[in-house]
Symmetry: C2
């Protein structure tokens, strides 16, 4: 089968063996995959992964392992990406996404979805309702990550919120929070990047011109260390900074501002798929406007290149 394989460098290959599902797994045929910033970071060496990359997908179950129920066959599915050991204290009390032994689809010790076929434990799968098209379902993973922010803010009193970075994830977060009733400003650096948020009827402003320092919550979805510094600049005392983007750089940071202003920094990663699918069923997020292009896997190298360009929001891959 064809696949995009990371092994020091990234390459498109056609000689990769179709995987066999283990007893607890499903074999899934790819319908659509999304390219995420984590994919470029992996290619740059973040997390030291080698194997097939890719973790945002919608696909169809083609086979299931021997212990699994046959009703999954031919089911259209999306899936959560963390595969825990299911026996440790963390798996039982927190969840597989924080298991120290976890495998992560296309990120850690488990081949990903930029391929004709891939496997995933059936426990990770979510059936996609008919009302959700593949072009929307493929956003389930990043949308779940956006819903995670909403989940974390539930226990915090927030009046005025800013999302830094009008990229794919920033827009999803902003929209999820607006739908939940928050007052949200999307802050970006250029007119071009703020065009789509305006089209989504989100409030926008230029981060560099923002001298409003009365935000009691700032979500940093810039994917850049500079975003962290900007967030510290515009947060109110005792404000909350939701840190959403992973990047591997060591960044010199003045920690005293966190102490003096008694800020709260909240790391935020993966989220609940069921709630993301519920949002997708409402059709209230114009996801199609995030898609810049869709490429076949054989053009995957060019697709990843394009996906990393400024201003690009979502590039899809299909078999």
């Amino acid at each position: 089968m064809q696949a995009l394989v990371l092994n020091q460098g990234l390459s498109y290959r056609t000689d990769v063996l179709k995987p066999e599902p283990k007893a607890d797994e499903a074999l899934i045929r790819l319908s659509l995959a999304g390219i995420c910033a984590t994919d470029f970071e992996l290619v740059k060496g973040y997390a030291g992964f080698s194997g097939i990359i890719g973790h945002e997908f919608v696909g169809v179950v083609e086979a299931v392992g021997q212990t699994q129920d046959a009703h999954w066959l031919n089911q259209r599915v999306v899936g959560s990406i963390n595969i825990g050991c299911h026996t440790c204290d963390v798996c039982r009390n927190v969840g597989p996404e924080h298991c120290q032994q976890r495998k992560v689809l296309g990120i850690r010790l488990h081949d990903g979805v930029f391929a004709d076929y891939f496997t995933l434990p059936v426990a990770n799968l979510f059936a996609v309702p008919d009302a959700i098209k593949d072009q929307a379902a493929v956003f389930a993973e990043p949308l779940a990550a956006a819903v995670r922010v909403r989940e974390q803010l539930k226990v915090i009193r927030v009046n005025k919120l800013a999302v830094l970075g009008p990229g794919r994830l920033g827009l999803l977060i902003a929209k999820v929070l607006v739908l939940a009733g928050y007052s949200v400003d999307v802050l970006g650096r250029t007119d071009a990047t703020l065009e789509l948020p305006r089209q989504w009827q989100l409030n926008t402003a230029f981060i560099q011109e923002t001298d409003d320092t009365s935000y009691d919550c700032v979500v940093d979805a810039t994917g850049q260390a500079s975003g962290f510094k900007q967030a510290l600049r515009i947060l109110k005392p005792r404000g909350n900074l939701v840190l959403k983007s992973t990047f591997s750089a060591l960044e010199p940071i003045d920690l005293s501002k966190i102490v003096v202003n008694e800020l709260n920094i909240i790391g935020s990663r993966c989220g609940p798929f069921a709630e993301a699918l519920a949002l997708l069923e409402q059709h209230s997020i114009p996801l199609e406007t995030l898609i810049n292009a869709s490429y076949p896997l054989q053009a995957g190298m060019a697709a990843l290149q394009q996906a990393s360009m400024p201003g690009i929001r979502k590039i899809l891959l299909h078999p």
Copy 2:
């Protein structure tokens, strides 16, 4: 009067004018003052302060401004150090400790307590109950800062807690949390620094030998950037790091660990004096064991020097 004055360098002077209380202020005669790590940081240039330093005190009200009640005269007092504008949104909704226009006793725009006399708004004063000696009352400010941690942890589920740094503030925090029912380990680097926490019947361990990564809360009171890194190392996923120490260095930090492990970083600064005094009245913290020495103001330069030495916990000053 005599005073320790910071003006580029620090100097002991005897020619400083006795201050006049403003309408809303009290004039206070110093009984005892405590030297804090912030005082060394100020001398090193942190916050750019010039004036009389010092902010931990117990004293006696010698005069009050014209609008203030005479019952304060001859009252033994301690006082909170932040002087807000009392008119801004932050003062009204959060507190003077986060007012952008605030003055801070001996730290920002208001002369401090390493002097025979100093002034403070009467609104900042707390009468010291007779049951509390000067040698205990002088700890009201750092103890309030320790109580602030207890206050912040109220809304968080915490089972297993570590305090990094067995210095004066770390010990107060550990003891306050133990008295509140938490299970606390005090982590330090040397046998000598762990001796006093053991004497206080606190659980102790060597930070460098700690491979237990199941702490769901770590309080960093090391005053050093290395403490932040150690805290990240031993925290459980979704754990809480209470950041207590201010230092001016820019520190290269791997923010991705905060995101991947969904950590919560909580800045923590000043705390409630009333609750600190209530704790002091219970005599359940052996504060006298924190005191290494007490010097007259005229030996203040040597006292500050000694206070900055490793292993020293609290040096007091008296007129």
